[in-house]
């Protein structure tokens, strides 16, 4: 099968791929992080001459909606599926259906227990959290008090980051005195941080499970006239700019662009029947003042398109 679908953005088609498309289903497309993944995937499609459809629900809480999208993509018989599952276990039944139909399935960013998957490309969120924890610890002294700001309750990605950061911080001898969720919402993060500072005047550093929350935290901290390191995750433009301005202490980027790019690149390999590594690490970027400028230029270059 594989007729050309009307919504595709890339018109060029590789001859050897016989007009096959690659469907990329992400957790959402409504945040900068996932926009980078999309940019990477589309760039790969363009360079390698294959049509790429990138879809994702309007928010990360729409779990079943994502499953529906996967089903609807399978229904269009794509050459390969690249998926980043919001709730890993939920996508398994429909992805099994895909593998049974002979469609290669590649997971990016978040892994799922799928028997016949082609590969998983990404870094564990736990690892990213750990890196962030290490970075924060390196800016503090043993025994300092720190706070953790998590995402929405039950969001596995942000939960894993928090777990990783907590482990790294505690291993380095820090004291975690507060751990509160802020729904990945900047404004809520600010309120939550204000309340935490009310209770814990001695906090010396904060880790937030995404950049938006980190920036909200930063506002609350600055409003108090405090100057303590705040670390985020994701490496969004806004966060990187803040780092350059000397405000945010750092952020951990999980190379979303590379994930998207590698996902499509390896999907093509799989379609062609070439061998694909079972596990591909897309690497982690620790962004601090030193490398922020360079990172910013890269981010701007990929979003311009």
């Amino acid at each position: 099968g594989g007729e050309k679908s009307s919504g595709g953005s890339s018109e060029k088609e590789g001859n050897e791929l016989e007009g096959k498309t690659i469907s990329v289903v992400l957790k959402t497309l409504s945040s900068p992080y996932w926009k980078y993944v999309e940019a990477g995937a589309k760039a790969a499609g363009k360079e390698l001459g294959v049509e790429v459809n990138v879809v994702g629900p309007a928010s990360e809480s729409q779990v079943i909606e994502q499953v529906n999208m996967i089903e609807d993509q399978i229904n269009q018989s794509p050459g390969a599926l690249v998926v980043s599952p919001t709730q890993p276990s939920t996508v398994v039944p429909s992805l099994e259906q895909a593998t049974q139909q002979g469609i290669p399935v590649l997971l990016i960013d978040t892994d799922a227990e799928l028997k016949d998957k082609t590969t998983f490309i990404g870094t564990e969120n736990f690892t990213a959290g750990q890196e962030a924890g290490k970075l924060l610890a390196s800016m503090l002294n043993k025994g300092d008090e720190v706070a953790l700001i998590s995402g929405a309750l039950g969001n596995t990605a942000t939960d894993e980051r928090i777990k990783g950061a907590k482990k790294a911080l505690e291993d380095a001898g820090m004291k975690v005195v507060a751990e509160q969720p802020a729904d990945s919402d900047k404004s809520k993060a600010m309120s939550v941080m204000e309340n935490i500072l009310q209770n814990n005047k001695n906090i010396k550093g904060v880790f937030a499970a995404n950049d938006d929350m980190a920036l909200g935290v930063l506002r609350a901290v600055e409003a108090k006239g405090m100057k303590i390191p705040v670390i985020g995750t994701d490496g969004t433009v806004e966060a990187v700019e803040s780092i350059i301005a000397g405000k945010l202490a750092g952020t951990i980027a999980q190379s979303p662009y590379d994930m998207g790019y590698l996902g499509v690149e390896n999907a093509i390999k799989a379609i062609k029947g070439e061998k694909v590594e079972k596990r591909i690490d897309s690497g982690i970027d620790v962004i601090t003042k030193e490398n922020a400028q360079e990172k910013l230029e890269f981010l701007k270059s990929i979003t311009k398109e």
């Binding site: 679908s5 009307s6 497309l29 879809v55 779990v63 529906n68 609807d72 229904n75 709730q87």
Partner: protein
């Protein structure tokens, strides 16, 4: 369909009945227009495979909406269905996966938990006399969601036994069992609402609570039944969901109440109670599912999808409004 057949046999009211029938299933026209447009735009839309996809994808919302119809018929609302769904399936997971007990027991737990929270909504409303079910169900919505997160410390549960997955996963021929369940439940509810006392009382309470009370109807009892059923349907929808994705997670069903309410209202029910049918609700649920599916097929991006869905909700209801205005003029 039934209604029409029955009424047509009485020739003197025939003309009225056709109109009546149309006015009941007005959203049908919206659905037909929608399907026509999608068939033109995508050659994948009108395939058996895709129609079965829609049938599956609509089933969770169709079940929730069917439950939601009852509170809305009584001029109430149930905001807690999504959360009740979550706590029901989490507890089912704990019983049947974590504790490894018999799947039937798991299913029972799931449905009973749903009934319990629904009953709680009813009791809060009628015994505590909270002024509007918006309050009681907003409360339970938070409580049930909180509990769903607490019970497994937010961890999802996967690997359910086949029996539990059956409803959400299996097919009879090409037809998903979940959709058969939807059909069966809709027929049962149709009979319940039109042919039983309690069913008629639900309409009566929505039409005029005071008059219903003065006619000797035990209003409180009926309301408790209504919310209990809504809770039950939420857990049944949860059961189907677990079967579909073979896992239970605490954020399941988040904000599903909006889709369910939208289905009921698109289907012609009134927020002021007393007006609405199960078939209208089914069409409402189908409109939403067809729309989402169609936009996915057309690879419309999520942000545009959102805008388009907003537009179509308005358009679908507007078609109904125009049609009703016309039929009134004739």
């Amino acid at each position: 369909m039934r209604e029409l057949a029955v009424n047509s046999s009485e020739t003197n009211v025939e003309k009225k009945s056709v109109k009546h029938y149309l006015s009941k299933f007005g959203a049908l026209i919206g659905l037909i227009i929608l399907c026509t447009v999608l068939t033109i735009l995508s050659d994948k839309f009108l395939t058996i495979n895709n129609i079965m996809n829609i049938a599956r994808q609509s089933s969770i919302n169709a079940l929730l909406a069917l439950g939601m119809l009852l509170p809305i018929l009584t001029a109430g609302i149930d905001l807690s269905v999504g959360s009740i769904l979550a706590i029901s399936i989490m507890l089912m997971g704990i019983v049947s996966v974590n504790m490894g007990m018999h799947p039937i027991l798991g299913i029972l737990v799931c449905l009973l938990v749903g009934c319990f929270f629904g009953w709680l909504n009813g009791i809060l409303l009628t015994k505590l006399k909270l002024p509007h079910p918006f309050i009681s169900t907003l409360g339970t919505m938070n409580i049930a969601r909180g509990l769903a997160l607490i019970v497994t410390a937010a961890a999802p549960i996967a690997g359910f036994p086949y029996l539990i997955q059956f409803l959400g996963r299996e097919f009879v021929g090409p037809i998903p069992v979940s959709f058969l369940l939807v059909i069966v439940m809709y027929i049962i509810f149709h009979i319940f609402l039109t042919r039983t006392k309690t069913g008629r009382y639900i309409y009566a309470i929505g039409g005029n609570k005071e008059a219903a009370h003065l006619s000797g109807i035990n209003v409180d009892r009926v309301l408790v039944i209504v919310y209990t059923i809504s809770g039950f349907m939420a857990s049944l929808a949860g059961l189907v969901m677990v079967g579909r994705v073979n896992s239970a997670f605490p954020l399941a069903g988040l904000s599903y109440e909006l889709d369910a309410i939208a289905a009921v209202i698109i289907g012609g029910a009134s927020f002021f109670g007393g007006v609405g049918t199960v078939w209208g609700t089914l069409i409402g649920a189908l409109i939403i599912a067809v729309l989402r599916n169609g936009l996915n097929l057309l690879n419309v991006s999520a942000d545009f999808q959102m805008a388009v869905i907003g537009f179509v909700i308005i358009a679908a209801v507007y078609v109904d409004v125009i049609r009703q205005r016309k039929s009134k003029k004739d």
